[in-house]
Symmetry: C5
């Protein structure tokens, strides 16, 4: 089991809780399988209804059914959705995504600002009054636009406050706006990783680096090294072929040095049983050093 | 009687109050008949004075007279109006609409921002000092513009704070601004429904979906499913023929899966007795499974 | 004497103070003669110095001399001016105008924002430490521009906080900016009246409605009815012939249904004795059902 | 000795301190000689280094040496500068200038906003922990631009909070921006004076009025009268001939009705001894009814 | 040993801590060698990965390895990075850089705003709960743009709050934006120095002044004198020849009057041992009056 590097801003009284949140969420591997379920705001209903998407995915409860039956590190979604379902899904390990914005205004037209909805103190109190297994908080930072400063400040505060209360902090860090020529530029992604490290994040979710439009796992190394002790999670992105997905995931970890993934559509855009098996396959690769073939077996049931 | 799904952020000490507010407001049906009376800011005096509107509608007390004599779920209006009349109408079930804006600046010219006027804590204290039957709070979110982030934050906080104090939270959720091509697009409305679910709202008031400019109840299903445990209220809109209104309402519920309506002009733009009967007819369809013919009978007295 | 409709947000412990402030300020008539003295910011020195203005009007103390000798409901001016003179004029009934802006930037160029200067809590503490007769607070809202939301929020809070502390709240409500075609449109003014009612104001100061550029008292009725229990005060405006002024005032009340006036220049742009008699004439019409001839007699001394 | 008009917002427990601060700062004359030393931000290093400026003026300690040796009412400068030197200059009467901006962006290009740096509460605590003789606070308001509302609010709060703690409040009040045709227009300056009176300032620093580009003391009368009980301080401006300076100062007071001056460059742009004598000359005219010839004698030592 | 001028806003109970922080950080010399490690946000990954940069510099731990083995005054970096490494590097003297922005948006396109991430109170509590040797805080102010006022306010508060808690405050002060013709203009840099003095900073990091594109140490004198008791630190800038660097450093101090330097790339863009020796060489020149030849010897080991 990997040594847990407890951040220095976790006070003594919160150390055991932080350690427990970290160990349980990473299965002792130091790597995080984050089941991402925040797209109902980020992409409105595009990811949940339409061609190639099973009808049951349109019901938000589908996400909770998966999260409660699959092996996952944490289920990341908005507070409101948790509040409406968690009494019936009270064993799920939750990570509260603290900000979200819609995709109605293009990034090229207006610099994005995704503001914090609730305070970490609200989440801490909620954890106490509800007794739910809330392991951490998440927040998206868009760098490169006129609201960068607001999001950097909110992110820095969220990470610190989460640590004070023994919770994990995951930062989504995306360069956006008219000044960004290529969101998949490995050097730019490494820069984003470094920003997350300076924010003190436990994990940072990043875009996947491309060379001439294609992912190569070696390209990740600049970012995973620049991130230092902040673990890099690769974005799952839109739904692709399962084997391709699992191979890339395996290579991201074992070649690129990533420490997990944030996957949504590749899991929930499936009927329940298949979604659960896909999540389990991802978990096995991420946290249990499973090979791609092992994972394919899990996926096939 | 439908099972009440109490949100997880309602703490133990507020559960019985939340349950009571929910049951009384929905008549045990899980559906809400919301009498909307916030148009004096939203539309200035257009809805209350002019051709085809009875003179008595120009007096704000008309709304209170209706609310006190009709069967309604809640009467939604601004705090200030409640403060001026509620001592004389102290049996009305109130829902305080916490934000409002005028219609003087077109949405196409400037992105709308309807800011929160009072804090939920103000409403809670008012409920206590006045002894009034304040069941919940309401708030409008416009997505798609530069102030989206401010309204999402205010809405998320309002819903959570309402729940902490055992109150219902109703969100009006409207895509607006130059990026919105069709406010009646079913897929867009389903997206808005999902946003409300992520905010944790108990009910969300939405535009009615159209296909080629016409309402069809089947179009609602994407939204009512995407809303999950958040009940969809269909907007009443401008005054139309009574039978058409009641038929659409019935179809919205029984075909489209909506869980109520927010109706203003179709009620208050009538003389008092007729307005009361219209409200009663709407209530019967919404909360008592009345047929359209039953409702027409009620309307006719 | 008219029944006093105490707003529901006046708590039990503040009821007698609210009632006293209301009764004393309206002389038991339910109507308010507001002596407006906030123009030193709103119009800079234009109203106080120049052709046709007596030299003594340039000294701010002129306002206090009038307020202390005339019969008035309240004297409305900025906090700072009160703080500098009130020790010598400690019997004057004050209403603290909480916001003000200059007229240097035209409304057509930039949307106006007149921000709140002090909190109601500051005024309450000042009332207590100074022992002055502070009856209420005032605030101007400009609707129709990009800062509308800020002013609506500040106004709603001010009205509520004033009521909590037993004070009157007067709102100046003016549509302004490039979207306003005619500030004297009766229907628009009625809309403004309704907004003030939704804010819970005790009184609202409005522009006077015109038809083809001329005031007719009947035009006020839409607004005074739409205002409900919020009393409409007509703006005094620039200085006009005394008889015309008093006749219009009488008609505003007895035909238009207004419940008072806010008059500044028509009072203070006169030598002290004449100003006092003019204020007394206005008071008699407003609060004592005096006829225009009675008022002219008072004016003549 | 002039009667001290203690503002009504000075509470009983702070009255003797306010009276002492006022009397000591005005030498019992009711007039204030304010030694202005805030230009290191306002004008960067332009006023302290260059042709015609003695080299010692480039060291900020020059200001403190003058302030500690000369007769002055108060020495106005930023908090940070006070914090670095005041342990060695602990007899100086200080007035903390609470805001400042640089001159890098022209007023004609962007409307100025000079934001408050520290709270009055910070200054009060500093006064207590340091034991320094802090007599008051200062703040600049620019009217006529899009940030006017922010500065009016900050100014109103600062004046009131200073009074609550027995301190003097001096407001610099300057119309600025593209809508200001002539900063030296006597009527505009009188308007600025009235704004300061409405803010409750003890003293207001104003531009000097011109007629056809030249100062005439009679032009000040509109402003000094409009300021009421707020004392008008004339701006010292850039360095001019000593006799001219002292003659204008004398005329401002005895003809124009000003109650002091705010002088910086005309004092500190001199070698120490000469600077001290110039300050003493100004003090004598301002607070001791000295004639111009008396003052010239003081200047000559 | 130089006299320590303790700022007047350091209260009695924090004096010994301030003195200790100052003496230890300057080695009793009054001069500060600041090891700057905040570029992972300011320049993204440009300074840490690429041609001419040793691979180990891409790992943020490289900075901590240097800081823990070299002789330095303080190591300045973001809170988050400290939180992730400081348990393993707990003897390092830290200075928390409280704001940072990326370089994605050019200064010429949008005025920069680098907002404060955490409060000084957060740092004080962190110092107490972690037991780390946190000596001070840092903050960058950009003057000359539309956000100048926000940064001046934040800076003023940070300096004052740091002093209250016995910590050093270092301000990075850079004129930026379209109005700045020449960032290396000696007179402009002196202006920036004066602003920092008015903010009360202990040290100010400035650009190096040029004449016709070249540094000359005499050019610094205007700034170091204008800074008064605020010590001027010269920016290290991009990596240059070692001898040139050390000669300029020596001349900055002994001819230009600077009181230290802030050096990042010239240290960390080297393999660990060499980086440590370079830091030691800089320290010797800065704090121990070493000659350039002495320093070269240290660098050569």
């Amino acid at each position: 089991m990997e040594r847990i590097e407890i951040p220095a801003d976790v006070p003594a009284e919160a150390e055991s809780l932080y350690r427990e949140n970290f160990e349980k969420s990473t299965g002792g591997s130091g790597r995080l399988m984050l089941f991402a379920g925040d797209q109902k705001v980020e992409h409105l209903n595009n990811d949940f209804y339409g061609e190639g998407i099973p009808p049951e995915d349109n019901d938000p409860e589908h996400l909770f059914r998966i999260a409660s039956r699959a092996r996952i590190g944490v289920f990341a979604t908005q507070f409101g959705l948790i509040s409406r379902y968690a009494r019936d899904y009270d064993k799920v390990p939750y990570l509260v995504k603290l900000n979200s914005k819609t995709n109605l205004v293009p990034y090229t037209d207006k610099d994005p600002y995704s503001q914090q909805w609730l305070e970490v103190a609200d989440i801490v109190r909620f954890r106490e009054t509800s007794g739910l297994d809330i392991r951490g908080v998440g927040y998206t930072v868009y760098i490169g636009g006129e609201h960068e400063h607001s999001m950097l400040r909110e992110a820095a505060r969220i990470v610190h406050e989460a640590h004070i209360h023994g919770m994990l902090a995951v930062i989504w860090l995306y360069p956006k706006g008219p000044y960004i020529k290529d969101e998949h530029d490995p050097h730019l992604i490494a820069g984003a990783a470094g920003v997350a490290a300076c924010l003190g994040a436990d994990f940072v979710k990043l875009k996947v680096p491309y060379e001439q439009g294609r992912f190569k796992p070696e390209l990740l190394r600049e970012a995973t090294q620049a991130a230092g002790r902040t673990g890099v999670l690769c974005e799952g992105g839109s739904k692709v072929d399962e084997r391709v997905f699992l191979e890339e995931l395996h290579a991201q970890i074992h070649i690129g040095g990533s420490r997990g993934n944030g996957t949504g559509r590749n899991i929930h855009q499936r009927p329940l049983d298949e979604a659960v098996r896909m999540a389990n396959a991802i978990y096995a690769v991420t946290c249990e050093d499973a090979s791609v073939e092992d994972a394919i077996d899990i996926l096939k049931g």
